[in-house]
Protein backbone atom coordinates (compact mmCIF):
# COMPACT_ATOMS: atom_id res chain seq x y z
CA UNK A 1 0.00 0.00 0.00
CA UNK A 2 1.35 3.42 -0.97
CA UNK A 3 -0.71 6.58 -0.53
CA UNK A 4 0.30 9.82 -2.19
CA UNK A 5 -0.99 13.25 -1.24
CA UNK A 6 -0.39 16.67 -2.78
CA UNK A 7 -0.79 19.80 -0.66
CA UNK A 8 -1.04 23.07 -2.55
CA UNK A 9 -1.89 26.71 -1.89
CA UNK A 10 -0.50 30.24 -1.54
CA UNK A 11 2.93 30.69 -0.02
CA UNK A 12 2.20 31.57 3.61
CA UNK A 13 -0.82 29.34 4.10
CA UNK A 14 1.31 26.70 5.77
CA UNK A 15 1.09 24.30 2.87
CA UNK A 16 4.59 22.88 3.30
CA UNK A 17 3.96 22.58 7.04
CA UNK A 18 0.95 20.39 6.30
CA UNK A 19 3.15 18.06 4.31
CA UNK A 20 5.96 18.01 6.86
CA UNK A 21 3.54 17.27 9.69
CA UNK A 22 1.94 14.40 7.77
CA UNK A 23 5.34 13.01 6.80
CA UNK A 24 6.51 13.07 10.42
CA UNK A 25 3.30 11.35 11.53
CA UNK A 26 3.82 8.64 8.92
CA UNK A 27 7.41 8.13 10.09
CA UNK A 28 6.25 7.88 13.71
CA UNK A 29 3.69 5.29 12.70
CA UNK A 30 6.53 3.27 11.20
CA UNK A 31 5.69 3.82 7.55
CA UNK A 32 8.09 4.42 4.72
CA UNK A 33 7.66 8.04 3.73
CA UNK A 34 8.98 10.70 1.37
CA UNK A 35 8.29 14.43 1.39
CA UNK A 36 9.08 16.48 -1.69
CA UNK A 37 8.55 20.25 -1.80
CA UNK A 38 8.34 22.31 -4.96
CA UNK A 39 11.43 24.47 -4.61
CA UNK A 40 13.13 27.31 -6.34
CA UNK A 41 12.17 30.65 -7.75
CA UNK A 42 8.92 31.18 -5.87
CA UNK A 43 7.64 34.62 -4.94
CA UNK A 44 5.46 36.05 -2.22
CA UNK A 45 1.84 35.40 -3.11
CA UNK A 46 2.89 32.65 -5.49
CA UNK A 47 1.90 29.04 -5.11
CA UNK A 48 3.61 26.45 -2.97
CA UNK A 49 3.09 22.73 -3.06
CA UNK A 50 4.52 19.54 -1.70
CA UNK A 51 3.98 15.83 -2.12
CA UNK A 52 3.95 13.20 0.62
CA UNK A 53 4.15 9.52 -0.24
CA UNK A 54 3.67 7.05 2.59
CA UNK A 55 3.16 3.34 2.82
CA UNK A 56 4.25 -0.02 4.18
CA UNK A 57 6.68 -0.66 1.33
CA UNK A 58 9.73 1.09 -0.11
CA UNK A 59 8.73 4.25 -1.95
CA UNK A 60 10.26 4.44 -5.39
CA UNK A 61 9.34 7.83 -6.77
CA UNK A 62 8.55 10.70 -4.39
CA UNK A 63 6.61 12.35 -7.23
CA UNK A 64 2.85 11.83 -7.42
CA UNK A 65 1.67 11.57 -10.99
CA UNK A 66 -1.66 10.20 -9.72
CA UNK A 67 -2.17 11.28 -6.09
CA UNK A 68 -4.84 9.58 -3.98
CA UNK A 69 -5.50 12.79 -2.09
CA UNK A 70 -5.30 16.43 -3.07
CA UNK A 71 -5.56 19.28 -0.59
CA UNK A 72 -6.04 22.66 -2.23
CA UNK A 73 -5.94 25.87 -0.23
CA UNK A 74 -6.44 28.30 -3.15
CA UNK A 75 -8.11 28.36 -6.56
CA UNK A 76 -5.00 28.20 -8.80
CA UNK A 77 -3.99 24.99 -7.01
CA UNK A 78 -7.33 23.39 -7.81
CA UNK A 79 -6.90 24.12 -11.51
CA UNK A 80 -3.27 22.94 -11.48
CA UNK A 81 -3.80 19.61 -9.81
CA UNK A 82 -7.42 18.44 -10.01
CA UNK A 83 -6.85 16.37 -13.14
CA UNK A 84 -3.92 14.53 -11.63
CA UNK A 85 -5.97 12.93 -8.86
CA UNK A 86 -6.53 9.23 -9.38
CA UNK A 87 -10.01 8.03 -10.19
CA UNK A 88 -11.91 7.44 -6.90
CA UNK A 89 -9.44 9.85 -5.27
CA UNK A 90 -10.40 12.57 -2.81
CA UNK A 91 -10.06 16.36 -3.03
CA UNK A 92 -10.19 18.56 0.07
CA UNK A 93 -10.72 22.19 -0.82
CA UNK A 94 -10.67 25.41 1.12
CA UNK A 95 -14.17 26.65 0.31
CA UNK A 96 -13.60 30.00 2.07
CA UNK A 97 -11.42 31.06 -0.83
CA UNK A 98 -12.21 28.67 -3.67
CA UNK A 99 -15.54 29.42 -5.32
CA UNK A 100 -15.11 26.91 -8.13
CA UNK A 101 -15.63 23.18 -7.73
CA UNK A 102 -13.81 20.30 -9.43
CA UNK A 103 -15.36 19.43 -12.79
CA UNK A 104 -14.69 15.71 -12.31
CA UNK A 105 -17.38 13.28 -11.30
CA UNK A 106 -15.10 10.36 -10.41
CA UNK A 107 -13.57 11.94 -7.33
CA UNK A 108 -14.95 12.67 -3.88
CA UNK A 109 -14.87 16.30 -2.78
CA UNK A 110 -14.90 17.75 0.74
CA UNK A 111 -15.42 21.49 1.03
CA UNK A 112 -14.02 22.90 4.25
CA UNK A 113 -14.25 26.66 4.84
CA UNK A 114 -11.03 26.47 6.84
CA UNK A 115 -10.04 30.13 6.50
CA UNK A 116 -13.42 31.25 7.87
CA UNK A 117 -13.31 28.68 10.67
CA UNK A 118 -9.79 29.84 11.55
CA UNK A 119 -10.98 33.43 11.82
CA UNK A 120 -13.84 32.33 14.07
CA UNK A 121 -11.27 30.63 16.26
CA UNK A 122 -9.43 33.95 16.36
CA UNK A 123 -6.28 32.91 14.50
CA UNK A 124 -6.33 32.96 10.70
CA UNK A 125 -3.00 31.11 10.58
CA UNK A 126 -4.45 27.80 11.77
CA UNK A 127 -6.51 27.27 8.59
CA UNK A 128 -3.99 24.61 7.55
CA UNK A 129 -4.36 22.65 10.81
CA UNK A 130 -8.17 22.79 10.51
CA UNK A 131 -7.80 21.31 7.05
CA UNK A 132 -5.48 18.64 8.43
CA UNK A 133 -8.16 17.72 10.96
CA UNK A 134 -10.62 17.08 8.16
CA UNK A 135 -8.00 15.29 6.06
CA UNK A 136 -6.86 12.96 8.85
CA UNK A 137 -10.43 12.05 9.71
CA UNK A 138 -11.50 11.24 6.17
CA UNK A 139 -8.28 9.66 4.92
CA UNK A 140 -7.46 7.74 8.08
CA UNK A 141 -3.81 7.46 6.98
CA UNK A 142 -2.62 8.08 10.54
CA UNK A 143 -4.48 8.37 13.84
CA UNK A 144 -5.30 11.82 15.27
CA UNK A 145 -3.14 11.00 18.30
CA UNK A 146 -0.04 10.28 16.24
CA UNK A 147 -0.68 13.36 14.15
CA UNK A 148 -1.02 15.72 17.11
CA UNK A 149 2.03 14.27 18.88
CA UNK A 150 4.08 14.60 15.70
CA UNK A 151 2.88 18.15 15.17
CA UNK A 152 3.91 19.09 18.69
CA UNK A 153 7.34 17.54 18.27
CA UNK A 154 7.94 19.53 15.08
CA UNK A 155 6.80 22.79 16.68
CA UNK A 156 9.28 21.93 19.43
CA UNK A 157 10.32 24.73 21.68
CA UNK A 158 7.85 27.26 20.31
CA UNK A 159 5.26 28.67 22.70
CA UNK A 160 3.25 26.12 24.68
CA UNK A 161 0.04 28.05 23.99
CA UNK A 162 0.54 27.29 20.30
CA UNK A 163 0.07 23.58 20.95
CA UNK A 164 -3.30 24.29 22.53
CA UNK A 165 -4.36 26.49 19.59
CA UNK A 166 -3.33 23.76 17.14
CA UNK A 167 -5.14 21.07 19.09
CA UNK A 168 -8.34 23.13 19.06
CA UNK A 169 -7.99 23.90 15.35
CA UNK A 170 -7.37 20.24 14.55
CA UNK A 171 -10.41 19.13 16.58
CA UNK A 172 -12.63 21.72 14.88
CA UNK A 173 -11.63 20.50 11.42
CA UNK A 174 -11.93 16.89 12.53
CA UNK A 175 -15.47 17.47 13.79
CA UNK A 176 -16.49 19.60 10.79
CA UNK A 177 -16.53 16.62 8.44
CA UNK A 178 -19.21 14.12 9.37
CA UNK A 179 -18.78 10.35 9.53
Amino acid sequence: MIVKTIFSGFGGQGVLMMGVSLANSAMNKGYHVTYLPAYGAEMRGGTANCTVALGDEEIASPVASEPNYLIVMNAPSLFSFQNRVTSEGVIFLNSSIIKDRPNRKDVKVFCIPCTDIAQELGNSRVANIIMMGAFIKKSGVVSPDIYLKSLESIMGSKKKSLAEVNRKAFATGFDYVKE
Binding site: V20, N24, L36, Y39, G40, A41, A60, P62, S65
Partner: protein
Protein backbone atom coordinates in the same frame (compact mmCIF):
# COMPACT_ATOMS: atom_id res chain seq x y z
CA UNK B 1 19.35 6.00 17.69
CA UNK B 2 16.08 7.60 16.67
CA UNK B 3 14.76 8.04 13.19
CA UNK B 4 14.47 11.65 12.10
CA UNK B 5 12.80 13.16 9.06
CA UNK B 6 15.26 15.41 7.26
CA UNK B 7 15.88 16.77 3.78
CA UNK B 8 18.75 15.32 1.76
CA UNK B 9 20.73 18.56 1.93
CA UNK B 10 20.43 18.71 5.71
CA UNK B 11 21.28 15.03 6.05
CA UNK B 12 24.57 15.44 4.17
CA UNK B 13 25.50 18.38 6.37
CA UNK B 14 24.55 16.61 9.61
CA UNK B 15 26.35 13.42 8.59
CA UNK B 16 29.45 15.45 7.74
CA UNK B 17 29.51 17.19 11.12
CA UNK B 18 29.02 13.88 12.91
CA UNK B 19 31.82 12.36 10.83
CA UNK B 20 34.15 15.05 12.13
CA UNK B 21 34.05 17.61 9.33
CA UNK B 22 35.37 20.77 10.94
CA UNK B 23 35.80 23.06 7.98
CA UNK B 24 33.10 23.87 5.45
CA UNK B 25 33.25 26.57 2.80
CA UNK B 26 30.59 27.13 0.19
CA UNK B 27 28.74 29.63 -1.93
CA UNK B 28 24.93 29.52 -2.30
CA UNK B 29 23.26 27.94 -5.29
CA UNK B 30 19.88 26.24 -5.69
CA UNK B 31 19.09 23.35 -5.17
CA UNK B 32 21.74 22.82 -2.46
CA UNK B 33 21.29 26.01 -0.40
CA UNK B 34 19.91 24.13 2.59
CA UNK B 35 23.21 22.29 2.94
CA UNK B 36 25.16 25.54 3.27
CA UNK B 37 22.45 26.97 5.51
CA UNK B 38 22.55 23.94 7.81
CA UNK B 39 26.33 24.16 8.05
CA UNK B 40 26.07 27.86 8.92
CA UNK B 41 23.75 27.04 11.79
CA UNK B 42 25.24 23.82 13.08
CA UNK B 43 28.99 23.95 12.47
CA UNK B 44 29.31 26.23 15.50
CA UNK B 45 28.03 23.49 17.81
CA UNK B 46 30.98 21.37 16.72
CA UNK B 47 34.21 21.78 18.64
CA UNK B 48 36.43 24.15 16.64
CA UNK B 49 34.12 23.96 13.64
CA UNK B 50 34.56 26.59 10.94
CA UNK B 51 31.89 27.70 8.49
CA UNK B 52 32.72 30.18 5.75
CA UNK B 53 30.39 31.54 3.12
CA UNK B 54 33.09 32.20 0.61
CA UNK B 55 33.11 34.95 -2.01
CA UNK B 56 32.91 32.38 -4.80
CA UNK B 57 32.91 28.67 -5.53
CA UNK B 58 36.55 28.90 -6.56
CA UNK B 59 37.47 30.43 -3.24
CA UNK B 60 35.55 27.69 -1.41
CA UNK B 61 37.39 24.79 -3.05
CA UNK B 62 40.76 26.43 -2.43
CA UNK B 63 39.85 27.14 1.18
CA UNK B 64 39.03 23.49 1.80
CA UNK B 65 42.27 22.49 0.08
CA UNK B 66 44.15 24.69 2.53
CA UNK B 67 42.27 23.42 5.55
CA UNK B 68 42.76 19.85 4.38
CA UNK B 69 46.51 20.42 4.12
CA UNK B 70 46.36 21.68 7.70
CA UNK B 71 44.86 18.33 8.67
CA UNK B 72 41.12 18.78 9.28
CA UNK B 73 38.21 17.04 7.65
CA UNK B 74 36.77 19.35 5.00
CA UNK B 75 33.73 19.69 2.78
CA UNK B 76 32.37 22.03 0.13
CA UNK B 77 29.14 21.77 -1.80
CA UNK B 78 27.52 23.33 -4.82
CA UNK B 79 25.33 22.54 -7.79
CA UNK B 80 26.34 21.93 -11.39
CA UNK B 81 27.57 25.37 -12.59
CA UNK B 82 29.33 25.91 -9.27
CA UNK B 83 31.01 22.51 -9.50
CA UNK B 84 32.38 23.48 -12.92
CA UNK B 85 34.06 26.44 -11.23
CA UNK B 86 35.66 24.16 -8.65
CA UNK B 87 37.36 21.86 -11.14
CA UNK B 88 40.81 23.44 -11.03
CA UNK B 89 40.77 23.10 -7.26
CA UNK B 90 39.64 19.48 -7.38
CA UNK B 91 42.45 18.64 -9.82
CA UNK B 92 44.87 20.38 -7.50
CA UNK B 93 43.61 18.45 -4.46
CA UNK B 94 43.98 15.19 -6.36
CA UNK B 95 47.53 16.15 -7.35
CA UNK B 96 48.45 17.14 -3.81
CA UNK B 97 46.68 14.06 -2.42
CA UNK B 98 44.46 16.12 -0.15
CA UNK B 99 41.36 14.42 1.26
CA UNK B 100 38.12 16.36 1.03
CA UNK B 101 34.46 15.96 0.17
CA UNK B 102 32.80 17.78 -2.72
CA UNK B 103 29.02 17.55 -2.91
CA UNK B 104 27.30 18.15 -6.24
CA UNK B 105 23.51 18.46 -6.02
CA UNK B 106 23.02 18.38 -9.78
CA UNK B 107 20.59 20.59 -11.67
CA UNK B 108 19.60 20.89 -15.29
CA UNK B 109 22.36 22.00 -17.66
CA UNK B 110 24.42 22.80 -19.64
CA UNK B 111 25.28 26.38 -18.76
CA UNK B 112 23.12 27.83 -16.02
CA UNK B 113 20.37 25.47 -17.14
CA UNK B 114 17.67 25.35 -14.50
CA UNK B 115 17.27 24.36 -10.87
CA UNK B 116 15.48 21.06 -11.43
CA UNK B 117 16.90 17.56 -10.82
CA UNK B 118 19.16 16.17 -13.57
CA UNK B 119 22.09 13.80 -14.02
CA UNK B 120 24.07 15.63 -16.67
CA UNK B 121 27.28 15.88 -14.64
CA UNK B 122 28.17 12.19 -14.74
CA UNK B 123 30.98 12.63 -17.25
CA UNK B 124 32.41 15.58 -15.35
CA UNK B 125 32.31 13.71 -12.04
CA UNK B 126 33.58 10.31 -13.18
CA UNK B 127 36.18 11.35 -15.75
CA UNK B 128 38.03 13.66 -13.43
CA UNK B 129 36.37 16.91 -14.45
CA UNK B 130 39.50 19.02 -14.18
CA UNK B 131 42.73 18.68 -16.12
CA UNK B 132 45.33 15.98 -15.76
CA UNK B 133 45.47 12.26 -15.11
CA UNK B 134 43.35 11.91 -12.01
CA UNK B 135 40.13 10.39 -10.75
CA UNK B 136 37.81 11.18 -7.89
CA UNK B 137 35.82 8.56 -6.04
CA UNK B 138 32.17 9.31 -6.86
CA UNK B 139 29.18 8.14 -4.84
CA UNK B 140 25.70 8.19 -6.39
CA UNK B 141 23.34 7.73 -3.42
CA UNK B 142 19.76 6.64 -4.09
CA UNK B 143 18.05 7.19 -0.74
CA UNK B 144 18.30 9.71 2.07
CA UNK B 145 19.65 6.93 4.31
CA UNK B 146 22.44 6.38 1.80
CA UNK B 147 23.17 10.10 1.79
CA UNK B 148 23.86 9.83 5.51
CA UNK B 149 25.84 6.58 5.36
CA UNK B 150 27.86 7.40 2.26
CA UNK B 151 28.71 10.90 3.44
CA UNK B 152 30.33 9.36 6.51
CA UNK B 153 32.04 6.67 4.41
CA UNK B 154 33.26 9.35 2.01
CA UNK B 155 35.33 10.97 4.75
CA UNK B 156 36.90 7.62 5.64
CA UNK B 157 37.76 6.83 2.03
CA UNK B 158 39.11 10.32 1.39
CA UNK B 159 41.51 9.85 4.30
CA UNK B 160 42.37 6.26 3.47
CA UNK B 161 43.37 7.08 -0.09
CA UNK B 162 44.23 10.75 0.44
CA UNK B 163 42.03 11.83 -2.42
CA UNK B 164 38.98 14.03 -2.97
CA UNK B 165 35.65 12.21 -2.93
CA UNK B 166 32.53 13.48 -4.66
CA UNK B 167 28.94 12.89 -3.64
CA UNK B 168 26.84 13.14 -6.77
CA UNK B 169 23.14 13.60 -6.11
CA UNK B 170 20.49 15.75 -7.74
CA UNK B 171 17.95 18.39 -6.78
CA UNK B 172 15.35 15.82 -5.88
CA UNK B 173 17.67 13.97 -3.51
CA UNK B 174 18.69 17.29 -1.98
CA UNK B 175 15.18 18.60 -1.45
CA UNK B 176 13.39 15.40 -0.57
CA UNK B 177 12.81 14.43 3.06
CA UNK B 178 12.98 10.83 4.24
CA UNK B 179 13.42 9.22 7.64
CA UNK B 180 17.08 8.64 8.43
CA UNK B 181 19.15 7.03 11.18
CA UNK B 182 22.68 8.34 11.62
CA UNK B 183 25.18 5.58 12.24
CA UNK B 184 28.08 5.97 14.62
CA UNK B 185 31.06 7.33 12.70
CA UNK B 186 34.34 5.45 12.82
CA UNK B 187 37.27 7.12 14.57
CA UNK B 188 39.49 9.01 12.14
CA UNK B 189 42.65 7.36 10.94
CA UNK B 190 44.86 9.89 9.26
CA UNK B 191 48.53 10.22 9.88
CA UNK B 192 49.89 13.44 11.28
CA UNK B 193 52.75 13.18 8.80
CA UNK B 194 50.42 14.35 6.03
CA UNK B 195 49.35 17.45 7.94
CA UNK B 196 51.01 20.84 7.69
CA UNK B 197 50.96 22.14 11.23
CA UNK B 198 54.21 24.03 11.48
CA UNK B 199 57.51 22.16 11.46
CA UNK B 200 58.41 23.16 15.00
CA UNK B 201 61.80 21.64 15.64
CA UNK B 202 61.23 18.83 13.14
CA UNK B 203 61.82 18.59 9.40
CA UNK B 204 59.77 20.91 7.21
CA UNK B 205 57.01 19.33 5.13
CA UNK B 206 55.91 20.30 1.68
CA UNK B 207 52.64 19.69 -0.21
CA UNK B 208 52.62 20.71 -3.85
CA UNK B 209 51.18 19.85 -7.22
CA UNK B 210 53.82 21.64 -9.30
CA UNK B 211 56.41 19.10 -10.44
CA UNK B 212 58.61 20.68 -13.08
CA UNK B 213 60.92 17.70 -13.52
CA UNK B 214 59.25 15.33 -16.03
CA UNK B 215 60.65 12.22 -14.36
CA UNK B 216 59.31 13.28 -10.96
CA UNK B 217 56.04 14.23 -12.58
CA UNK B 218 55.70 10.95 -14.45
CA UNK B 219 56.49 9.01 -11.31
CA UNK B 220 53.83 10.99 -9.43
CA UNK B 221 51.26 10.28 -12.17
CA UNK B 222 51.98 6.55 -12.02
CA UNK B 223 51.79 6.63 -8.26
CA UNK B 224 48.31 8.17 -8.51
CA UNK B 225 47.33 5.66 -11.19
CA UNK B 226 48.36 2.74 -8.95
CA UNK B 227 46.27 4.25 -6.17
CA UNK B 228 43.27 4.49 -8.50
CA UNK B 229 43.79 0.83 -9.44
CA UNK B 230 43.65 -0.15 -5.78
CA UNK B 231 40.48 1.91 -5.32
CA UNK B 232 38.93 0.28 -8.38
CA UNK B 233 39.75 -3.15 -7.02
CA UNK B 234 38.49 -2.57 -3.50
CA UNK B 235 35.85 0.09 -3.36
CA UNK B 236 33.13 -0.56 -5.95
CA UNK B 237 29.59 -0.71 -4.60
CA UNK B 238 26.36 -1.62 -6.32
CA UNK B 239 22.87 -2.95 -5.65
CA UNK B 240 21.04 -5.70 -7.51
CA UNK B 241 17.25 -5.64 -7.33
CA UNK B 242 15.01 -8.40 -8.74
CA UNK B 243 17.88 -9.74 -10.85
CA UNK B 244 17.46 -13.51 -10.25
CA UNK B 245 14.85 -14.24 -12.92
CA UNK B 246 15.18 -11.03 -14.93
CA UNK B 247 15.04 -11.06 -18.72
CA UNK B 248 15.81 -7.36 -18.91
CA UNK B 249 17.88 -5.33 -16.49
CA UNK B 250 17.68 -1.57 -16.06
CA UNK B 251 20.95 0.15 -15.21
CA UNK B 252 20.30 3.39 -13.32
CA UNK B 253 21.66 5.35 -10.35
CA UNK B 254 20.36 7.92 -7.88
CA UNK B 255 16.92 9.35 -8.53
CA UNK B 256 16.67 7.50 -11.85
CA UNK B 257 17.14 4.21 -9.99
CA UNK B 258 14.26 5.07 -7.65
CA UNK B 259 12.03 5.72 -10.64
CA UNK B 260 13.23 2.46 -12.15
CA UNK B 261 12.19 0.55 -9.02
CA UNK B 262 8.71 2.02 -9.35
CA UNK B 263 8.62 0.96 -13.01
CA UNK B 264 9.82 -2.55 -12.14
CA UNK B 265 6.98 -2.96 -9.67
CA UNK B 266 4.45 -2.04 -12.34
CA UNK B 267 6.06 -4.30 -14.94
CA UNK B 268 6.27 -7.30 -12.62
CA UNK B 269 2.59 -6.86 -11.79
CA UNK B 270 2.03 -7.30 -15.52
CA UNK B 271 4.24 -10.39 -15.58
CA UNK B 272 7.35 -8.86 -17.15
CA UNK B 273 10.58 -10.03 -15.56
CA UNK B 274 12.61 -6.86 -15.15
CA UNK B 275 15.39 -6.13 -12.66
CA UNK B 276 17.69 -3.28 -11.68
CA UNK B 277 21.46 -2.93 -11.49
CA UNK B 278 22.25 0.21 -9.51
CA UNK B 279 25.85 1.41 -9.34
CA UNK B 280 26.44 3.10 -5.97
CA UNK B 281 30.02 4.06 -6.76
CA UNK B 282 29.95 5.74 -10.17
CA UNK B 283 33.73 5.85 -10.17
CA UNK B 284 35.00 3.23 -9.71
CA UNK B 285 32.17 1.84 -11.84
CA UNK B 286 31.13 -1.72 -10.86
CA UNK B 287 32.23 -2.91 -14.28
CA UNK B 288 33.05 -6.55 -13.51
CA UNK B 289 29.82 -7.10 -11.56
CA UNK B 290 27.80 -5.81 -14.48
CA UNK B 291 29.78 -7.85 -17.00
CA UNK B 292 29.15 -10.98 -14.94
CA UNK B 293 25.40 -10.45 -15.36
CA UNK B 294 25.74 -10.57 -19.14
CA UNK B 295 26.47 -14.30 -18.87
CA UNK B 296 22.76 -14.92 -18.39
CA UNK B 297 21.02 -11.62 -19.15
CA UNK B 298 21.10 -10.41 -22.72
CA UNK B 299 19.01 -7.24 -22.58
CA UNK B 300 19.91 -4.09 -20.70
CA UNK B 301 18.30 -0.67 -20.61
CA UNK B 302 20.30 2.30 -19.37
CA UNK B 303 18.04 4.92 -17.85
CA UNK B 304 19.42 8.35 -16.96
CA UNK B 305 18.20 11.89 -16.47
CA UNK B 306 20.69 12.91 -19.18
CA UNK B 307 21.20 12.28 -22.88
CA UNK B 308 23.33 9.22 -22.11
CA UNK B 309 26.53 9.43 -20.09
CA UNK B 310 26.71 6.39 -17.81
CA UNK B 311 25.66 4.63 -21.01
CA UNK B 312 29.35 4.74 -22.03
CA UNK B 313 30.41 2.91 -18.88
CA UNK B 314 27.73 0.29 -19.41
CA UNK B 315 28.95 -0.25 -22.98
CA UNK B 316 32.54 -0.59 -21.74
CA UNK B 317 31.42 -3.03 -19.07
CA UNK B 318 29.26 -5.22 -21.30
CA UNK B 319 31.72 -5.20 -24.22
CA UNK B 320 29.10 -6.21 -26.73
CA UNK B 321 28.03 -9.32 -24.80
CA UNK B 322 24.46 -8.01 -24.49
CA UNK B 323 22.02 -5.62 -26.16
CA UNK B 324 21.91 -2.13 -24.68
CA UNK B 325 18.99 0.26 -25.07
CA UNK B 326 18.77 3.76 -23.65
CA UNK B 327 16.05 6.00 -22.27
CA UNK B 328 16.94 9.51 -21.15
CA UNK B 329 15.19 12.64 -19.89
CA UNK B 330 17.73 15.46 -19.65
CA UNK B 331 17.49 19.11 -18.65
CA UNK B 332 15.48 18.82 -15.44
CA UNK B 333 12.61 16.67 -16.68
CA UNK B 334 11.76 13.99 -14.11
CA UNK B 335 10.06 11.00 -15.72
CA UNK B 336 7.43 8.96 -13.90
CA UNK B 337 7.65 5.23 -13.18
CA UNK B 338 4.63 4.81 -15.49
CA UNK B 339 6.50 6.40 -18.39
CA UNK B 340 9.55 4.20 -17.92
CA UNK B 341 7.32 1.13 -17.56
CA UNK B 342 5.70 1.97 -20.91
CA UNK B 343 9.10 2.33 -22.58
CA UNK B 344 10.20 -1.04 -21.24
CA UNK B 345 6.93 -2.78 -22.07
CA UNK B 346 7.41 -1.75 -25.72
CA UNK B 347 10.98 -3.06 -25.64
CA UNK B 348 9.86 -6.40 -24.20
CA UNK B 349 7.30 -6.72 -27.00
CA UNK B 350 10.03 -6.08 -29.53
CA UNK B 351 12.39 -8.64 -28.00
CA UNK B 352 9.78 -11.42 -27.92
Amino acid sequence: MNKVLMSGNNIIAEAAIRAGCRFYAGYPITPQNELTEYMAEHMRRADAGVFIQSESEIAAINMIAGASAAGVRVMTSSSSPGISLKQEGISSMAACELPGIIVNIMRGGPGLGNILPAQGDYFQATRGGGHGDYRTIVYGPGTCQELADLTMDAFDLADKYRTPVMILADGMMGQMMEPVIFKKPKPRQYSEKFMLRGAGTGKSKFIRGLLLDPIDSEEHNWKLARKYDVITKNETLHEEHNIEDAQLVIVAYGTAARIAKGAIKRLRDQGMKVGLFRPITLWPFPELKLRALSAKIKNFLVFEMSTGQMLDDVRLALQGYANIEFHGRPGGAVPTPAELANVIARLCDKND
